[in-house]
């Protein structure tokens, strides 16, 4: 039986001899892996964006003008007794007006005609990090909103709800399209390997005629498949990294996106793509070389 070194040598000889074919195949497969990577990256960033906004959630409970100091203390102690509440800041009517003026900036003089301050006092409730998810915030808001002395509770909920639904749909679309892309990648790899196999059909036949066993003929091809899968998936991910860096550099994130830092694919997903590439390469070679083994 041949030594492993000769199997490597055969694989290398063939890569060298069919360099152009392998180069074209590598370009096609890399592009396919890049597309897979784009879908994974999009899914990862949709998740990150959801988490980012969830973590920014603050709950504002507006108070009735009739709430006196005693009632305020009672409400405060009830708030602190609730699970997930980290801190509560009381904003009185005057402070609310000052904040509002600050927001209006040079247009603040518009407020000078007001005879009385229309803004309510409020509690700005900051939640513990782990408590900042939409469902828990909704529950807390409903409860606080039912208390006497609280007129309204706002957590920027309506748009966050809509955004969560949109993200859910987008994520599902990414998985469906990503799945289709993976199927397409398997098809492309399999057919690209088949194409390279055709150019080596005679070589396989000759090797068998002079006494090479099936395993010996298959192994160099499988090795090439693994190598091709590894290199092309790594190239695809590399291309994705470059695109990611370029997007970070050139992008200015507007409005609600400000402060959000796009994430790259996780280490686990990267390893899965590269190892998946090697696996697909091996399987593609193995399935295709069998078509040419009957001599």
């Amino acid at each position: 039986m041949r030594k492993a070194g000769t199997v490597f040598q055969l694989a290398f000889q063939d890569l060298k001899a069919n360099f152009a074919v392998h180069l074209v195949a590598a370009a096609v497969i890399s592009a396919a892996f890049l597309t897979v990577g784009l879908f994974v990256l999009t899914a990862a960033n949709l998740d990150a964006l959801t988490r980012y906004w969830e973590k920014k959630i603050q709950v504002c409970a507006y108070l009735d003008d009739s709430v006196d100091e005693e009632k305020k203390q009672e409400l405060l102690s009830r708030l602190y007794s609730m699970a997930g509440v980290e801190s509560v800041e009381y904003v009185d009517k005057d402070q609310a007006m000052e904040d509002f003026k600050g927001m209006l900036g040079k247009d603040a003089d518009l407020l000078e005609g007001l005879e009385e301050n229309p803004l309510p006092a409020s509690f700005l409730i900051k939640l513990a990090y782990e408590a900042r998810d939409v469902e828990r915030v909704k529950k807390l808001s409903r409860e606080v909103g039912s208390w006497q002395g609280v007129t309204e509770v706002d957590y920027g909920g309506s748009w966050l709800d809509s955004f969560s639904s949109a993200i859910g749909i987008a994520r599902a679309a990414v998985f469906v399209l990503g799945g289709l892309i993976v199927v397409a990648v398997v098809f492309i790899i399999s057919n690209t390997i088949r194409l390279t196999m055709y150019s080596r059909k005679e070589e396989i036949g000759i090797m068998k005629l002079v006494g090479a066993g099936n395993l010996l003929v298959r192994l160099p091809f499988v090795l090439e498949g693994i190598l091709q899968g590894l290199v092309t998936s790594a190239l695809g991910v590399g291309g994705l990294w470059i695109m990611y860096l370029a997007a970070l550099k050139g992008a200015s994130w507007p409005g609600v996106f400000s402060g959000f830092s796009p994430v790259f694919i996780s280490g686990t997903a990267l390893a899965a793509i590269v190892l998946g590439g090697a696996f697909l390469g091996a399987m593609g070679s193995l399935s295709r070389v069998s078509d040419f083994m009957r001599i």
């Binding site: 001899a17 068998k208 005629l209 099936n214």
Partner: protein, 241 residues
């Protein structure tokens, strides 16, 4: 060395390539197999190196029945049988050395021993100065000599050759035939298929004539006149060159 008992081979649609072949080739013999195109020469050789299996009958090589030899044991048998084809069947992106060395690597021979053996064999076919040349840079005769070197480098028991000079001119043909004779003189059993009548008459060896898949004659001692008649009947009436 080679024994065939009632061997027949049919392909699809009942086309009979070989019909009830009975044949015995002794160790060290040199047998010429001839007949018109489609007579069954190539099929017979393919049965011997198990590229095909007989439809009926038994084939024994070195006393061992190989008719039902398991697929996984076929490579080991092929490593003991050298085969030379009309179209050389060399791997064109391998050098002459790599083409010849491959079969020795299959046997797991040490690297240094491979180098020595390949060089000796290429010296025998007078191509030791073309070790690093690629087949397509060689002439047809040289390519066939590389194919012969590959076939004999393992010191096979049997050397099968299917129209090895079919694409070569007369002078190179004679050169190649001298090589086969030399290999035979070293003890290797040679079975060579050809439809070149001139070659058959010059070689003066045992000749098996096939016609439509059957053995028309198998006689090493028959007179040249009788043989000429049989060759003519087998469709080889005109001299090939």
């Amino acid at each position: 060395m080679i024994e065939l008992y009632h061997v027949s081979k049919s392909y699809a649609r009942d086309a009979q390539a070989l019909v009830d072949i009975n044949l015995k080739v002794e160790k060290g013999e040199f047998v010429l197999l001839t007949g018109a195109s489609g007579a069954g020469k190539t099929t017979l050789l393919k049965l011997l190196f198990l590229a095909l299996r007989p439809s009926t009958g038994q084939i024994l090589i070195e006393g061992k029945n190989v008719t039902r030899l398991k697929e996984r044991h076929v490579p080991a048998l092929r490593r003991r049988i050298g085969v030379v084809f009309q179209d050389f069947k060399l791997i064109n992106h391998w050098t002459v050395f790599q083409n010849v060395a491959f079969v020795l690597e299959l046997l797991g021979m040490p690297r240094n021993e491979i180098k020595r053996k390949v060089w000796m064999t290429l010296k025998m076919v007078r191509l030791n100065h073309k070790l690093d040349t690629y087949p397509l840079k060689l002439s047809g005769g040289e390519q066939q000599r590389v194919a012969i070197a590959r076939a004999i480098v393992t010191d096979p028991l049997i050397l099968l050759a299917d129209e090895p000079t079919g694409n070569l001119d007369h002078e190179i043909t004679m050169d190649i035939m001298r090589l086969f004779t030399e290999i035979n003189a070293r003890g290797t059993t040679v079975m060579l298929a050809t439809h070149d009548r001139n070659l058959i008459e010059n070689m003066n060896r045992r000749v098996i004539i096939l016609e439509k898949g059957r053995i028309l004659s198998d006689d090493e001692d028959e007179s040249s006149l009788v043989r000429a008649g049989r060759l003519a009947r087998a469709g080889l009436g005109e001299r090939a060159c």
